[in-house]
């Protein structure tokens, strides 16, 4: 398969995913709807899982590109993180049918691993952003924030719509996490 055909399969994935539920995924159906010959498809992706894994990497790569583009030139700070988060949520919403596939495919370890790697690298990037704006507990704060961002994405995904209250709560967390010098865990307070 040449790069153009591969790209075509990824670019049309959202359209394919609107017509094909995860349970119906097969090489034959993908080729039929994507206009690719099965032998050409199989030369690149020996099975559906390989295709989904490559699609996941494409999906995540597209999000990264969009976030970089949107935040380009934005000054360091909460606004930039919020802008990046909104781009992430918007991309997830625009590609909700591909996301349906990817969510359903999480039962496969390689898809789950791809997601974990993405979350880890988001947390690292965000951790350094937090550090640069003087937050404490930067990696932990970033880890929690990324988890919450995904929760918003998941709930919006299930609702098929923006959830303004959840986003407000997320921005509140962003504004305040890692800002307090204060206290330790309840145990230590009690002792």
């Amino acid at each position: 398969m040449n790069a153009r055909l591969r790209q075509q399969l990824f670019d049309h994935a959202e359209a394919l995913a609107t017509q094909l539920r995860y349970e119906e995924l097969s090489i034959a159906r993908l080729c039929e709807l994507g206009g690719v010959l099965p032998n050409v498809f199989c030369a690149e992706f020996p099975d559906v899982l390989s295709y989904l894994s490559a699609l996941q990497q494409h999906f995540l790569g597209e999000i990264r590109s969009r976030v970089i583009k949107v935040t380009d030139g934005a000054p360091l700070g909460l606004l930039r993180i919020r802008l990046a988060s909104e781009s992430y949520l918007a991309y997830c919403h625009e590609h909700m049918h591909v996301r349906d596939w990817l969510v359903a495919a999480r039962r496969h370890p390689q898809i789950e691993r791809g997601l974990q790697q993405q979350n880890h690298s988001y947390a690292l990037v965000l951790g350094s952003e937090f550090e640069a704006i003087g937050r404490t507990d930067t990696f932990s704060a970033a880890h929690l924030y990324v988890g919450m961002l995904n929760e918003v994405a998941n709930r919006e995904h299930r609702a098929r719509a923006k959830q303004p209250a959840l986003r407000e709560a997320l921005w509140h967390f962003l504004e305040h996490v890692g800002t307090a010098d204060a206290p330790a865990s309840p145990q230590r307070q009690r002792s």
């Binding site: 929690l144 996490v177 307090a180 330790a184």
Partner: protein, 204 residues
């Protein structure tokens, strides 16, 4: 007795001074359930979720068919165990804070108690991970998460938090994330917990 207490069991007489026959059968069934879930729990806590039905039946000293007869299938037994473990963790958090006045300290202690309880049940995360793509486990998990969310929401409302319901949803997910990270690391991660507890000190 006019009404059979359990489907398929028609009780016509009492055993003298004890229970109706139907209740005795029910008790036996209950004992079998307890033996099976206890055995499954022991095995899952020791060796993770990849436990077989035969191994559970053997550990419970029951024939393998007992699982099917009691639960209808092995997955059903695992769902019940998962629900039991989540329930224990939630009850522990509630017990720990039962006599405390509402406020940030109670909120933090409840979350900490809950996380401790999850950490002390290593089988829980393994089981949740293994069953997470099963529709019933997903529904059970959402129900469980809803319970945790409600508990948090009540506390946050008491603190006049803006968006208490939405914040509770996000915090419940963060708590599950911390629990999963601790289970994967095999140790408590106080830095993650503290980061969340410190957030609870933020202006509402």
């Amino acid at each position: 007795m006019t009404t059979p207490p359990f489907k398929g069991v028609f009780v016509t007489q009492y055993r003298i001074g004890i229970f109706p026959i139907g209740n005795t059968r029910h008790m036996q069934q209950e004992q079998i359930r307890v033996r099976l879930t206890s055995a499954a729990r022991r095995l899952v806590d020791i060796g993770g979720a990849r436990v077989s039905a035969d191994a559970v039946a053997q550990a419970a000293a029951l024939p393998p068919r007992a699982i099917h007869q009691t639960y209808g299938g092995f997955d059903e037994l695992l769902y019940e165990l998962l629900g039991q473990l989540y329930g224990e963790a939630r009850d522990r958090a509630l017990r720990l804070t039962a006599n405390m006045p509402a406020g940030r300290s109670r909120l933090k202690l409840a979350v900490d108690g809950y996380l401790h309880a999850l950490f002390e049940r290593p089988g829980l995360q393994a089981l949740a991970l293994q069953l997470r793509s099963h529709p019933r486990a997903i529904a059970d998990y959402r129900r469980h998460q809803h319970g945790l969310t409600l508990m948090l929401e009540i506390e946050l409302q008491g603190l006049n938090w803006s968006q208490p319901a939405a914040t509770a949803q996000l915090c419940a997910s963060a708590i599950e994330g911390i629990a999963a990270a601790e289970a994967a690391a095999g140790r408590r991660l106080p830095e993650l917990r503290d980061s969340l507890y410190r957030y609870f000190d933020a202006p509402p």
